[in-house]
């Protein structure tokens, strides 16, 4: 067994002290010193499915885009159509940002804040290339890009998360209770008590993602913990998102993959013929020529664990895999040949093991959706 260790100087979130006190096992996560678990990844997973857990997601990149041409800018930059959220303050939209060949630069959430102001939250691992791409794409447009590295983000997730967060934070997040799914609210705007609360997440459970100034993040983390929301590491975040059928950038799609073969067709909006978003012509060509793979969920029939990069016998491979704590079976995402039927075989070490092909997601809101 080889256990990696690193001496590189890691970045720390403003909550690092609380993590250490609460028993976090910290690991190098894309250059950040982040909690992988606080004792048991499995317990944390079940805690989110059955109660409430919270994640330090301060490593993610928050970007504010301001200017009267911001919607025109995003119409070209994003594969999904921001017209869906235009003039609906707080409304969120999930989208891919494509390169000109239709490959995925990143996946992100766009929040329409107010006219001429849109907030975008992108992945941590892609921060530099995202910002570079977004800046070059502005060209001469009246759009101003500001990275909000002064802000911290905590995700509270689980069936009891919103109620416990309301108890813990009270007036700090006043009004959040009324938020509909995939909507956000700015509370005390412009003041030093500003909070951005979004009813979004990456676990398949209800909850909030709460943004506050870096200087107030540790205190908020402790308030949430005192209300009974259990700290969870990024290990549980991965098993939760996999069960919930949510893609992970770098695993399930990247610049060499089309969103159409990554299970993300539903996020690519071709409906407005006039909207020439980046990568559109490449994707249209792909559709014309016919896709080779479909993106599916797999459930391993016997014992073992599915992992990214395991090969499908006859073509294709897994993009993500894990052991599902909710289903007590190995699950994964895979690109399989279009003609694949109800099962396929996965090459795991020297064996070929049978896996069932299913429609994603596996689990949502605590319930297993596949049989």
């Amino acid at each position: 067994m080889t256990l990696s260790n690193t001496n590189m100087q890691l970045k720390e979130t403003p909550i690092i002290k609380a993590h250490q006190e609460m028993g976090a096992k910290l690991v190098d996560f894309g250059g950040w010193n982040m909690p992988i678990h606080y004792g048991s990844q499995l317990d944390e997973h079940h805690q989110v499915r059955n109660g409430a857990g919270m994640f330090d997601v301060c490593h993610m990149t928050i970007v504010d885009l301001r200017g009267f041409e911001v919607l025109d800018y995003l119409a070209k930059l994003m594969a999904n159509d921001v017209a869906k959220i235009a003039d609906k303050p707080g409304k969120a939209l999930y989208s891919c940002m494509l390169n000109n060949d239709g490959g995925v630069i990143d996946d992100l959430i766009i929040y329409f804040m107010e006219s001429a102001w849109v907030r975008v939250i992108v992945n941590s691992s892609t921060r530099e290339k995202d910002l570079a791409w977004m800046r070059t794409q502005i060209g001469n447009m009246a759009v101003d890009l500001t990275e909000r590295d002064d802000l911290a983000m905590i995700a509270v997730q689980g069936p009891n998360a919103r109620e416990l967060a309301a108890t813990a934070l009270a007036d700090e997040i006043a009004g959040a209770q009324a938020l509909k799914p995939f909507n956000a609210l700015l509370i005390n705007p412009g003041s030093d008590r500003e909070r951005f609360v979004a009813r979004t997440g990456y676990t398949g459970e209800d909850g909030y993602e709460i943004v506050c100034p870096n200087t107030q993040a540790e205190q908020m983390w402790r308030q949430l913990a005192n209300a009974g929301i259990k700290p969870c590491g990024l290990g549980a975040r991965d098993t939760l998102r996999l069960e919930a059928g949510m893609n992970l950038y770098g695993n399930d799609m990247d610049e060499t993959q089309s969103p159409l073969e990554s299970g993300l067709s539903w996020t690519v909006d071709f409906s407005n013929d006039k909207r020439q978003f980046n990568g559109r012509s490449s994707l249209e060509k792909q559709k014309q020529q016919g896709l080779k793979y479909k993106f599916v969920g797999l459930i391993l029939e016997g014992k073992g664990v599915l992992r990214a990069h395991q090969e499908i016998v006859g073509g294709g491979e897994l993009t993500s895999g894990t052991f599902s704590p909710t289903m007590q079976q190995a699950i994964g995402f895979a690109r399989v040949p279009l003609e694949a039927g109800e099962t396929c075989q996965v090459a795991i070490r020297k064996k070929h093991l049978e896996a069932k092909i299913v429609k994603l997601p596996f689990v949502r809101q605590g319930k297993i959706l596949v049989n």
């Binding site: 096992k25 990844q41 290990g235 052991f323």
Partner: protein, 131 residues
């Protein structure tokens, strides 16, 4: 500092080895290793009668997080495996040095044990890897 029993021998790849009265060797992974790997969910053990060279991969333990190869500490033949782990891989987390044992081998050369690490040397290795 994790638990490193004095009566055992160790490898740099984080296996522990207990020399039994009949000269056979029981092998498992250390407390330090199980802590880093996290919750175990699957174990693939060798078959009885399989022969392995020293440092050859001969078993796999998988936690939720990752799969890890287990290396045979010395050249030998597998004479027993811990079948209970098939249904209860978490035994490795619960008690890495007892119920969490993986397999037992009969060494094929007598002086092979000299290459294994003492508890003191293994403790130093763990210490150096955590910095």
């Amino acid at each position: 500092m994790s638990d490193i029993p004095q009566e055992l021998k160790y490898t740099k790849s984080h296996e522990w080895i207990r020399v039994e009265d009949d000269g056979s060797l029981t092998v498992g992974i250390t407390e330090h290793a199980q802590g880093l790997l996290g919750d175990m969910v699957f174990v693939e053990l060798p078959d009885i009668g399989d022969e392995f060279e020293a440092e050859q991969d001969c078993a796999v333990v998988e936690s939720v997080k990752a799969a890890s190869d287990i290396y045979c500490p010395v050249e030998g033949e597998v004479i027993a495996v811990n079948e209970e782990l098939e249904d209860a891989p978490e035994q490795i987390n619960v008690n890495a040095y007892h119920e969490g044992w993986l397999f037992r081998i009969k060494p094929l050369k007598e002086d092979d044990l000299d290459g294994l690490m003492s508890p003191e040397d293994y403790a130093a290795l763990v210490e150096s890897e955590s910095h």
